[in-house]
């Protein structure tokens, strides 16, 4: 009986020795290799910009201009258009993102350039607008005096101005 207990004790001690040895061996081995980490967080900003929402109108002696700006489209409507009147309205292009933008294009449509002159000042292609900043432009609309009897005179028409912006370093001249 005593011999049997001794035998168990021997096995137990041997198992303990093996456990210690393997554990220490593992610890030793583990420091033979080391892991290094480079962890990165890349936060992407936002590119966002366009026309500030706005509506308004102005009258002159039986003729008037009204406008509505939203997104990247400005619609300017002239009612009872008259010769010798220069209709104007202002608009604002705002950078609402966190990355600078540039005005990539300004498009004008809706009227015949042979009958109606439309031009813009204050804002032009390539203008850069920093984040949080804005730029104010003015649209001018007037009937051309030629031909003598301009078919658009007395008419109501709508000029559409489209402005697009891009991330500043992706601007294509």
């Amino acid at each position: 009986m005593t011999r049997r207990r001794n035998s168990f004790a021997k096995i137990g001690i041997l198992a303990l020795v093996m456990l210690v040895a393997l554990g220490v061996l593992g610890a030793t081995f583990s420091v033979w290799s080391e892991i290094l980490y480079i962890d990165g967080t890349v936060s992407i900003g936002t590119v966002s910009g366009g026309l500030t929402d706005d509506t308004g109108s102005q009258s002159y002696d039986g003729t008037s201009i009204s406008w509505e700006a939203s997104g990247n489209v400005l619609e300017v409507t002239v009612t009872n258009a008259q010769l010798d009147i220069e209709y104007t309205c202002q608009f604002t292009v705002q950078n609402t993102g966190s990355i600078p933008v540039k005005i990539q294009s300004i498009g004008i449509s809706g009227v015949s350039p042979e009958e109606v002159d439309v031009w813009i000042t204050g804002v032009e292609k390539g203008d850069q607008i920093e984040d949080g900043q804005s730029k104010v432009g003015t649209v001018y609309v007037s009937l051309k005096p030629e031909p003598p009897e301009n078919p658009s005179e007395g008419e109501t028409f709508t000029v559409t101005v489209t402005i697009s912006v891009v991330q500043w370093n992706l601007y294509a001249p």
Binding site: N6, A9, K10, I13, L14, L16, V17, V20, A21, V24, L25, A27, T28, V31, W32, S33, E34, I35, L36, Y37, I38, D39, G40, T41, V42, S43, I44, G45, T46, V47, S48, G97, S98, I99, P100, D131, Q167, W168, N169, L170
Partner: protein, 378 residues
């Protein structure tokens, strides 16, 4: 020990002796292993930016620099790492010490921190307000502070790291993360620091107002192949076949230009026969003992150096640089850049001394250099 636990019964006495013997053995084994662990681990993390790291690691990052934090950073002894860092955003990857193209604006920024949580094995990079085409670079130092050479076992880039259990190395369209200066298989000698870099390129598909997480995992292991010493090569039969050894000796012979044109070739193959393991044994044996000449002692170490570089896998690399200025009399070799001399240059300088009349001191200088190389001390 036996007397202290003696019993009247002889068999019991034997049992107790065995048990205590086993316990003693376990203690010795444990202490020995701890000693090995400590020997492997001991290394002091150098001081940088007025921070002294008190933890000891084998291969820690030693410094980190971002090239878009608005300040050119100087790291001794390299000088300015990221010249031109005025905060304007980099538009191309930067090389160490060379300016790079930048946009004329400071829109995004990149910060890199070392030792977050007092662990210099961890660099944290934070890129803010990035946009497509933004291209910052991170430079970092990685030093082998252990007493044996280390080797980079793997470098894994995960461009979409989702958490500690993420083991997949994702390659996403939104980012292009690349590294340089370090490579898999690179051996970093004891005390040697390497400079790595990490380029982060934001690509067009990057989502606005989005955060990407990346992880670069570098595994460095102790270079267990570091045989190196004359004693190691004296026991070459335990590591290599005679065919392997003879092949390497022949390659050294060819590289040295043949019989009569270099140290080892002429001295090993007496009388100018085929160089083989017998010559190896002879020259290693001749370089020890009281009767050994300075020349034979030098040749013993030099032969080990050449074999270390020639063996497959090598434990010394011809293209790796070594600083021999800690060896007294190093000027004798006449190296143009002794603080960073390639092994191939050191060997060439030693070979250039062949055929000249050398003093014992000059032999000893070359011996000491080879000895330091073989033991990864330089």
């Amino acid at each position: 020990m036996v007397k202290l636990i003696s019993r009247s019964n002889g068999s019991k006495l034997k049992f107790h002796f065995t048990r205590w013997g086993i316990i003693a053995l376990a203690v010795v084994l444990a202490l020995g292993s701890v000693g090995v662990t400590y020997a492997k681990w001991k290394g002091k993390v150098p001081r940088h930016n007025d921070v002294v790291y008190t933890y000891y690691f084998n291969d820690p990052f030693t410094w980190v620099v971002s090239n878009d934090d608005g300040t050119p950073d100087t790291v001794s002894p390299y000088g300015v790492i990221d010249p031109g860092d005025n905060g304007d955003d980099p538009s191309e990857p930067q090389s160490q010490g060379v300016t790079c193209a930048r946009y004329g604006k400071d829109v995004a920024s990149t910060d890199a921190l070392l030792n977050v949580g007092f662990d210099p094995r961890h660099i944290t990079v934070t890129v803010s307000n990035a946009y497509p085409c933004y291209y910052p670079t991170i430079f970092f130092g990685m030093k082998n502070c252990a007493h044996v050479a280390a080797q980079i076992e793997s470098i894994v880039v995960d461009e979409n790291f989702t958490g500690e259990y993420d083991t997949t190395a994702d390659d996403i369209d939104a980012l292009d993360v690349t590294y340089g200066g370090i490579y898999v298989g690179q051996v970093i000698g004891s005390g040697t620091e390497v400079i790595g870099n990490l380029h982060i390129h934001v690509e067009q598909p990057a989502k606005e107002n989005w955060t990407y997480k990346i992880r670069v995992k570098i595994i460095v292991k102790a270079e267990c192949q570091c045989g190196g010493t004359p004693g190691y090569w004296h026991n070459w039969k335990q590591h290599y076949t005679a065919g392997e050894i003879n092949g390497w000796l022949t390659a050294i012979d060819v590289a040295s230009g043949g019989v009569g044109s270099g140290w080892l070739v002429s001295d090993m193959a007496e009388p100018y026969g085929t160089i083989d393991t017998a010559d190896l044994d002879a020259i290693l044996a001749a370089g020890v003992g009281g009767g050994a000449t300075a020349e034979s002692r030098f040749l013993r170490h030099y032969l080990a150096t050449r074999l270390n570089a020639q063996a497959e896998p090598p434990t010394l690399y011809l293209g790796d640089t070594h600083d021999i200025t800690s060896i007294s009399g190093y000027e004798y070799l006449g190296l143009s850049n002794p603080a960073s001399a390639k092994l191939s240059e050191i060997i060439a300088a030693i070979e250039s001394k062949y055929g000249t009349s050398l003093t014992d001191n000059q032999y000893n200088i070359m011996k000491n250099i080879c000895d330091a190389l073989n033991n990864c001390r330089i």
